[in-house]
């Protein structure tokens, strides 16, 4: 609180006097849901500070730059507990923060975006990969650093097609988000000339993810489940709910690789990514947070860095100015992916290469060679301008 008062005093000084020596304070909020979800693999279990840890690192990076530009960044974190009103929490957070990084489900994000619209708060969607947030439900005050399901599916599909693994056995979970990912994978197959030879549904019948002798059972279950499929090159799993995906590799009836939600996975970032100067970033992250960096951490880092990039270029902490610059044609941000990242101006989605990772290494990075585009090859990933249903308002 005291820090905030100091911040506010600094801010008003900077606002009233151009000669103010105090740095301009720029408040960034982080809004997420309390608690973590359970994953099949213990090593993939997200940390409590998944996401916000990336934002914190970017705040430090911005403040190092801020020493030279007279800007000071502060992060305020807010986690929603069950039964709490997300709009109320967001409104309170927006009191002091002109920018909010959100890791929220689609519906909650839309409620927040609409509630904060007249206030002028700029939201960054770092967590939700839902297509509709960039399509029919797009909003002019929401910038997306998280990739979409279609971008992830296309990134994977381009590689599988390049590899000539064109016959896919698609296994889909029984939850809504699994079905959405399967929709994206079907679209990808059609776009890039792959064939889904068969679809199977893996019904979630409940049950614990941690058991004492689970391995024996899984080893018997999975071969039988994948038995009798028509000839295929690769099994593609759509299991965002973490019910069965990680059980598939090495256990399929036919000896085939697994991709999608397990095996070869498309992600915006991975702890193993060390190209294009990323090793420095990974080292900084580990030093600050005592753990490795996840995709969600990176999506939040990128959002806060976008703010820092825009405030240093515009020499301003004014939300409107910063938002206009980020949405404008001159904006780009470097994020250790070998190319500059820019915004799709029709729906405010960040263009980005997608990594294909196997849990230990980066296997490849999409877009793949030969997938061409007249504007940016990054636009071969996901819905392109002519297909977009977004009307920004």
């Amino acid at each position: 609180m005291i820090r905030w008062l100091v911040g506010l005093i600094g801010w008003s000084l900077a606002a009233t006097s151009a000669l103010a020596a105090e740095p301009a304070m720029i408040g960034v909020g982080y809004l997420g849901i309390a608690g973590t979800r359970s994953t099949l693999s213990l090593v993939e279990q997200p940390a409590e500070n998944d996401g916000v840890a990336g934002a914190r690192l970017a705040i430090e990076d911005n403040n190092t730059t801020g020493k030279f530009t007279g800007q000071r960044f502060a992060l305020e974190e807010r986690r929603i507990r069950e039964g709490e009103d997300v709009v109320q929490a967001a409104t309170a957070l927006a009191e002091k923060n002109g920018f909010i990084i959100a890791d929220l489900p689609a519906d909650a994000l839309l409620k927040v975006a609409d509630a904060l619209r007249n206030r002028g708060t700029l939201l960054f969607n770092a967590g939700a990969i839902d297509e509709r947030l960039r399509e029919v439900d797009c909003r002019a005050n929401v910038i997306h650093t998280a990739p979409t399901r279609a971008m992830l599916a296309d990134a994977l599909g381009q590689y599988l097609v390049w590899k000539q693994w064109k016959r896919w056995l698609l296994v889909v979970g029984s939850h809504d988000e699994d079905k959405l990912f399967a929709d994206a994978l079907r679209r990808t197959a059609t776009r890039f000339g792959a064939k889904i030879v068969q679809e199977k549904t893996f019904e979630d019948r409940g049950g614990a993810r941690r058991t004492d002798s689970g391995v024996t059972l899984i080893q018997r279950q999975m071969p039988v489940f994948t038995q009798g499929a028509p000839a295929y090159d690769v099994l593609v799993a759509a299991d965002e709910s973490e019910v069965f995906g990680a059980y598939l590799p090495y256990r399929t009836w036919d000896p085939r690789p697994v991709a999608g939600s397990a095996g070869l996975v498309p992600r915006s970032w991975d702890a193993s990514q060390d190209q294009w100067g990323a090793i420095q970033m990974q080292n900084r992250f580990i030093k600050l947070n005592a753990r490795r960096m996840t995709a969600l951490d990176m999506q939040a880092w990128t959002a806060v860095r976008m703010i820092g990039e825009a405030t240093s270029r515009t020499n301003s902490g004014d939300v409107k100015k910063v938002a206009d610059f980020i949405k404008g044609p001159d904006f780009s941000v470097a994020a250790f992916k070998g190319t500059r990242l820019t915004l799709r101006d029709w729906n405010l989605q960040l263009r980005q290469p997608i990594l294909l990772v196997d849990g230990r290494m980066v296997v490849s990075v999409s877009p793949q060679e030969g997938f061409l585009h007249q504007v940016s090859e990054l636009d071969t990933l996901g819905y392109d301008r002519p297909e977009s249903k977004c009307k920004l308002k």
Binding site: T65, N283, R313, S332
Partner: protein, 322 residues
């Protein structure tokens, strides 16, 4: 030398391509953990020296007796004796040294330490660390003004060129440039500093008196997407008339007319061209090509690539004996 002359004459080679004086080039191979030694007479690798992990920045000492190579993953700078071509010493750099610059007298070394946002100052004679200067996030490019008074450091994530007074070791100015500034080079007459931005895809021209960007060199290669053009290394001829800019994954070196800041020609070299060095007579310019694991030799006057030399894996930096 004489014999080479004779061979040249006997074999009836065109005299216009008179053999140049032989020089020695040292190339750091980032992935192999080696340094390749190239003889510029025969254009062959005469020796491969094992060094520490991840060798990148590489430079001869002013007296030409030693070669310093930053081995980032070993957190040090190794010293190679040019006579014996073996590692003989190491310097106390900070963590993860990448590029460095030395003063005109060759007494003080300034090292960019990517991991902790500092520039480390080292006394070369005493092999002692004199201090650190706090700069922006991921310091990389380093160069010193011809009069030795100003050190320029670029920081890759802060996107600035920091102007540091070498006497007080204080930052005197910060100039914002395009994304991921990689390399800085002074004009020999000190009137301009050129800073390459890898991700921004431009070279910013800075007035070192006013500390302002006064112009930008932009690049456009038909048939190549904009994102593939990533300027890194810069070399400028001694008469300050022509600059060469390595364009990374564009696999080309741009030749730039310094006065107009316009590209006059693109030379196709190896893949992911990174850094470069002139032979002291400025007849040749050698570039390191990371992905194709080779070095391209450019005939400076003819503006042509005349040779490709295979070196180790991921060649990064290059220095030529004075």
């Amino acid at each position: 030398m004489l014999r080479i002359w004779r061979v040249g004459l006997l074999s009836g080679l065109a005299l216009a391509a008179a053999p140049a004086q032989a020089f020695v080039a040292y190339v750091s191979n980032e992935k192999s953990n080696t340094v390749s030694v190239i003889d510029t007479d025969s254009w062959t690798v005469t020796k491969t020296i094992k060094v520490g992990q991840r060798p990148r920045g590489i430079e001869f000492t002013r007296d030409g007796k030693f070669v310093m190579v930053a081995v980032g993953d070993d957190d040090t700078i190794q010293v190679i004796d040019a006579k014996t071509q073996a590692v003989v010493d190491s310097l106390p750099s900070g963590p993860d040294p990448e590029l460095f610059a030395q003063d005109a007298a060759g007494k003080i070394l300034y090292v960019a330490n990517e991991n902790d946002n500092t520039v480390t100052v080292i006394d070369l004679e005493k092999r002692a660390r004199l201090g650190d200067i706090q700069v922006g996030v991921e310091p990389e490019g380093m160069t010193i003004s011809p009069d030795g008074k100003i050190l320029i450091n670029t920081s890759e994530t802060t996107n600035m060129a920091h102007f540091i007074d070498t006497a007080s070791r204080q930052i005197v100015a910060n100039v914002l440039v395009d994304a991921r500034p990689r390399f800085a080079e002074f004009k020999h007459d000190a009137s301009e500093v050129w800073v390459s931005s890898e991700i921004g895809g431009t070279v910013s021209v800075i007035d070192p008196q006013k500390h302002e960007v006064i112009g930008k060199v932009t690049f456009e290669i038909p048939g190549l997407r904009k994102e593939a053009i990533q300027p890194v290394g810069i070399g400028m001829t001694r008469d300050d008339k022509t600059a060469f800019v390595a364009l990374g994954p564009a696999n080309r070196v741009a030749i730039v007319d310094v006065a107009t800041r316009k590209v006059t020609k693109y030379l196709l070299v190896g893949q992911r061209v990174w850094h470069m060095a002139f032979t002291p007579d400025e007849k040749y310019l050698l570039t390191t090509n990371g992905v194709s694991n080779d070095v391209s030799v450019i005939d400076v006057a003819a503006q042509k690539v005349i040779k490709t030399i295979q070196v180790g894996e991921l060649p990064w930096g290059i220095t030529i004996a004075p």
